[in-house]
Symmetry: C2
Subunit: 522 residues, 2 copies
C-alpha cells in the first residue's frame, strides 16, 4: 500500500459494511474489506448501498408501499433480440391528489443496492410527500437493473456470469428505464400532466441529475444529493476524495490524523517481522489469520472512508450502528488510549467504534472476494472510472498515484472488458459544467455536506437562478434525504426547508405554465 510500492484499494464506500449492522457481530463477525493480493489499481470507491441491509420487518412497516413489476427492455438503445426483465418498483399513492389536480409524482432514482433499504433510508421523500399530495415511486429502489430483485436473465448467477450478460448495467440504461416506466405509468393513470420530481442520493443522485439533464421533458426538477458527477477524468483533482476524509479526521484532532498517518508504516513493519501477520491478526482480533498486510490496510481504509461518509451529528445505523459524530469518537479512542498503548493498539481501539460499536463482536472476518463480479465493480470497470489518488502530504492514507493503464489491465483481467473512461463526460457533460448547466439546465438542487468525501466531486456553487447548490459545512453523505430525527441540527432543518421551498417552486411554475396553456390555448 503505497509505502512499499503496493497501492491501496478503493474504499468500498459504505457498501461493504452495510451487511454488518444487520448481523451485529457476535457469532457472525462483520465482514470487512479484503485484498489477498493487492491489485495495482483503485476502482471507484463504492457508494453506500451495494451490499445493503436486508430490511427488517420493523423498518419495512415504517413506510407503506406496494411492490409492483414492470417489463423493461434490456437495451433501450438497440433492437437486438434480448430477454426483457422485470423491474421491481415500490409505489405509494395514499397521499396522491390524483391526475385532475395534477398531483406530483416523486420518483426516487435507485442506487446500487436493494431498493427497500434505500426506501426506508430516504425518509425525506416519505415525510414531504403528503404535503405535496404526491405519489411516491421507488423503481427498483436504490438498486437499479442487476441490483436487488430486478435481475435480468432470471437470476443473479446468470446476470453476473460474464461481460455479455452484465453489458447492459449502465447509467444510461437505468435512466432510460425510469423514463419508460414513468411514461407508461402516467399514461395508464391518465396522469400525463402530473409533474415528476426526481430524488436521488449518492450514485442515485448522479442518476437523478443525469435524468434531469437528459429527460427534461419528463421531469420538472431534481434533488441530487451527494452526487459526485464531476469525479471523472481530470475535472476534480484525483486526491480530492481522500483529502476530505483526512481533513474530517484532522478537524477532530491533529494527533488522531498523525497517528493514523503513522500507522501504515507500523503495519508494514509489524508485517515484516517473523510471525508478523499472526501478531497483526491478534492485535486486530481477526477470526482467521491475515494473509497480507494489505488486507488489514484495506480494512482500515474502508472504515475511515465510510466513517467520513456517515459522519452524522446523531446516532445512526445507515451502514453500521454508530454514535453521533462517529469520527470524533474514533479519534477520542485513538487519542485517549491508555498511556503506553502502541500506535496499532490505538488504531484498533479507534476502528472498533466503526466495526464494533455495539461491542458484541468477538472477532472480525475479512471479505473473500472484494473484486469479484459484482455490480459496482463492473460499473467501475466500464463507465464509472473515477481516478483516485492519495497525496503524500495532505492525506492520512498511504500515498498512491492513479495510473489508468493499471486500472484498465485489472478490469480486463476481472471482466474481460475495457473501460471507457471518457464516456460519462461525453454523454452527460462534466467539463466546464458551470457554463453547460447554466446554458441548458434548470431546476436542480445539488446538496452536499462538506464532511462527505464525495462532496468534492459534486457541484458546490450556485450555477443559475434555478440550479442551486446547497452546501452544509457539517453535513455528511446525503443526510438531507434521511428521515428527520429529534436530534436534527438547525442547519439540517433549514436545508430541508429550503429544498421543500425550491421543489414547491418547480411545481408551481409548472402548474402556472400548464394553466396559462389551458387558459390561452397556446
Amino acid at each position: 500500500m503505497g509505502i512499499d510500492g503496493q497501492k491501496p484499494l478503493l474504499p468500498l464506500l459504505l457498501l461493504v459494511i452495510a451487511t454488518v449492522a444487520v448481523f451485529p457481530a457476535s457469532s457472525r463477525s462483520p465482514p470487512s474489506q479484503p485484498a489477498a493480493t493487492l491489485p495495482s489499481f483503485r476502482r471507484a470507491p463504492l457508494f453506500p448501498g451495494k451490499r445493503s441491509h436486508p430490511i427488517k420487518v420493523q423498518q419495512r412497516q415504517q413506510y407503506n408501499y406496494q411492490t409492483r413489476y414492470f417489463l423493461q427492455d434490456l437495451d433501450h438503445f438497440s433492437f437486438a433480440d434480448l430477454p426483457k426483465f422485470r423491474q421491481r418498483y415500490l409505489i405509494n399513492t395514499e397521499h396522491w391528489i390524483g391526475p385532475e389536480r395534477r398531483g406530483p409524482i416523486f420518483l426516487y432514482c435507485g442506487n446500487e443496492g436493494d431498493i427497500e433499504w434505500f426506501a426506508v433510508n430516504t425518509g425525506f421523500v416519505w415525510e414531504i410527500a403528503p404535503r405535496f399530495g404526491a405519489m411516491i415511486l421507488f423503481p427498483e429502489v436504490p438498486r437499479h437493473r442487476y441490483y436487488g430483485e430486478s435481475m435480468p436473465y432470471g437470476s443473479q448467477e446468470e446476470a453476473y456470469k460474464n461481460a455479455t450478460t452484465l453489458a447492459y448495467l449502465t447509467a444510461e440504461q437505468a435512466v432510460a428505464d425510469y423514463a419508460v416506466l414513468i411514461t407508461d405509468l402516467k399514461r395508464n393513470l391518465s396522469a400525463e400532466n402530473c409533474p415528476v420530481v426526481l430524488f436521488g442520493g449518492s450514485y442515485g443522485g448522479m442518476l437523478a441529475a443525469w435524468m434531469r439533464l437528459k429527460y427534461p421533458h419528463l421531469t420538472v426538477g431534481a434533488l441530487a444529493s451527494s452526487a459526485p458527477i464531476l469525479q471523472f477524468e481530470n475535472i476534480v483533482p484525483p486526491d480530492t476524495f481522500y483529502n476530505i476524509v483526512s481533513n474530517d479526521f484532522k478537524r477532530e484532532s491533529t494527533s488522531c490524523f498523525d497517528t493514523i498517518k503513522k500507522s501504515w508504516g507500523e503495519v508494514e513493519a509489524e508485517g515484516r517481522k517473523d510471525n508478523g501477520l499472526s501478531l497483526l491478526t491478534k492485535t486486530f482480533h481477526f477470526c482467521r489469520e491475515l494473509k497480507s498486510t494489505g488486507d488489514l490496510i484495506d480494512w482500515l481504509e474502508s472504515a475511515y472512508s465510510y466513517l467520513a461518509m456517515v459522519d452524522y451529528p446523531y446516532p445512526s445505523s445507515f451502514m453500521m450502528p454508530l454514535p453521533g459524530h462517529p469520527i470524533r469518537e474514533v479519534c477520542r479512542k485513538i487519542d485517549d488510549s491508555p498511556e503506553g498503548s502502541s500506535v496499532l493498539e490505538r488504531i484498533f481501539a479507534g476502528v472498533s467504534i466503526y466495526y464494533n460499536y455495539t461491542g458484541t463482536a468477538s472477532c472480525f472476518e475479512l471479505d473473500d472476494d472484494p473484486h469479484g463480479l459484482d455490480g459496482w465493480n463492473w460499473q467501475a470497470c466500464t463507465e464509472m472510472v473515477m481516478p483516485m489518488s492519495s497525496d503524500k502530504e495532505t492525506s492520512m492514507f498511504p500515498p498512491y498515484d492513479f495510473h489508468y493503464s493499471d486500472y484498465e489491465q485489472d478490469c480486463w483481467r476481472t471482466f474481460s472488458v475495457l473501460p471507457r473512461p471518457r464516456w460519462v463526460t461525453t454523454e452527460f457533460g462534466g467539463h466546464d459544467i458551470r457554463t453547460a448547466l447554466r446554458t441548458f439546465g434548470s431546476n436542480m438542487i445539488f446538496s452536499n455536506g462538506l464532511l462527505d468525501p464525495w462532496s468534492g466531486g459534486s457541484v458546490l456553487q450556485n450555477v443559475s437562478d434555478t440550479i442551486t447548490a446547497l452546501v452544509t459545512e457539517e453535513g455528511a453523505h446525503h443526510i438531507d434525504l434521511r428521515p428527520s430525527t429529534p436530534g436534527d441540527p438547525d442547519w439540517l432543518i433549514q436545508q430541508r426547508a429550503t429544498e421543500i421551498k425550491l421543489i414547491r417552486g418547480w411545481i408551481d411554475d409548472y402548474s402556472r405554465a400548464k394553466h396559462q396553456k389551458s387558459t390561452f390555448n397556446m
Copy 2:
C-alpha cells in the same frame, strides 16, 4: 389500395428515385416503387437519400475534402463484446481559423444515404464556412452507421443479415457517434474551446435537433431543416403528410388534383379487366408486365410524394432531373393533355415529368424488393414509427387509415422485430414540445418550406428567443441547405441570411461567455 380494401404503400420519400438521375433511363430505365403484394401497413415514408446518387467526379470536385475514418463502438450504451466499426467522415479545414481563435466546427448530421451525395447537396454549409472560419465535418455524411461505407460487420451483406446485426442502427447510437467523434477530434486538435454548430436536413435534421437536445454541452446550436420531429404517435394528425402533398397539387390546379384523385379508381377498374395488367403495363410504359395494380399505384404515389418534397422554384436534380416548379409542370401535362385523352393517359403524361424529364427512358422498371432488409425500413420498423393515413376527402391519394397492429405484424414478418412506437417521444420528447423546448432548449432553428409534406411534422412557430421557426411558404424539402443558385428567389436569400445571422449570434454568445470566463476566471 384503399379503394378495394388494399392499403397504399408509404411513399418511399425521395430515396428510391435517387438512383435514376444518375443513370438517366435509356438502356437502364428508372427503378420505381413496387409492391408485388400490397402489405396492409405503411412504413414511415422514406426521406431523400437512402439510395442516393453515386457521386459523379465532376460533383465531387466541387467541394474539397479529405476522407477519414474513426473507430466507433457499435453500442455506446452497453458493454457487450461487439465488433467496432469504422465510421467514415469527410473533413475540410482549409478555412478553419484554428483552436487559438476558437474557429467553429460545422458538423453536418448525416442522413440515411451516402455522405458524399449529401455533402455535395448541402452547399449552404460549404458556402458559409469560409466567412465563419469554420472547419467542416460530414461524418459518414448523410448516411450514418450502416449507410454508405460506415458498415459494421465488414460488409453490407453481413450488417443487414438479420435483426441482430441491424440492432444498433438507431438514432441514439448515431447521435452518440457524433458526440464521441467530435469529443475525440477536439481533444486531438486541442480544439476543446471551439464551438460546434450542427446542421442537418430531413432525417439528418432530426438528428441535429436531437443531438442539440441531448448533447447541449457539446454544441452551441443546431440548424434543423425540414426535420419532422413531431411525426410520431398522435402529435400531428396522421393524414398531415398526404394532405400537404395533395394541397401542393391543388394549389397548382384543382382539375389536376381531381384527375389524380379519380385515377386510382380508373387504375383499379382497368386492372379488373381481362388483360387489364397488360393494358396498364402498356399505358405506363413498363419494361416488364405489371404484377398488380398495387405496384402501379405505389409507383404513382411515390412520384407525387417526392415531387412535393422537391417542388423547388428552379431546375434541380436532387432526386431526378426536374424543371423548376415541377408540380406545376406535372399538372400542366395532366390538364393540357390532348382533347380526348383518358385519365390514365393524362396521369402518365404527368408523372413522366418526374420519371422521364430528360426524355431518354423508353420504358420503366419497378423495384423488386421495396420492403427488403434495408436501413430505412429497419428504422421504420423499430423507432421511426410515423403513423400515416390518407383522408378520404382532403387527400388526392387512395384513402387509408393507419392501423398499428398491421404495421407491427409486417415488421415482425420482415425483420422479426417489434417496433417501439412510443420510444422516440420518450427519449427525445415530442408531446407538448413547445413547453419542453422553451424550458430546456436553446439555439435551434427549425426551418421548413410549407410545400414540403414533412413540414407538417416539424416545428412551425417560434418557441422562444433562441428557438426560431423559419417558415417559407414557397419552400420545399430543406431547400435552404442546398447550394445557392442564380435562380434563388428573394425569400430564400432572405431565409439563408437570417440563418447566418442566428448562427453568428450563437457563436458570438459563446465567445463572449468564454471571454468573460477567461477574463474573470469564473
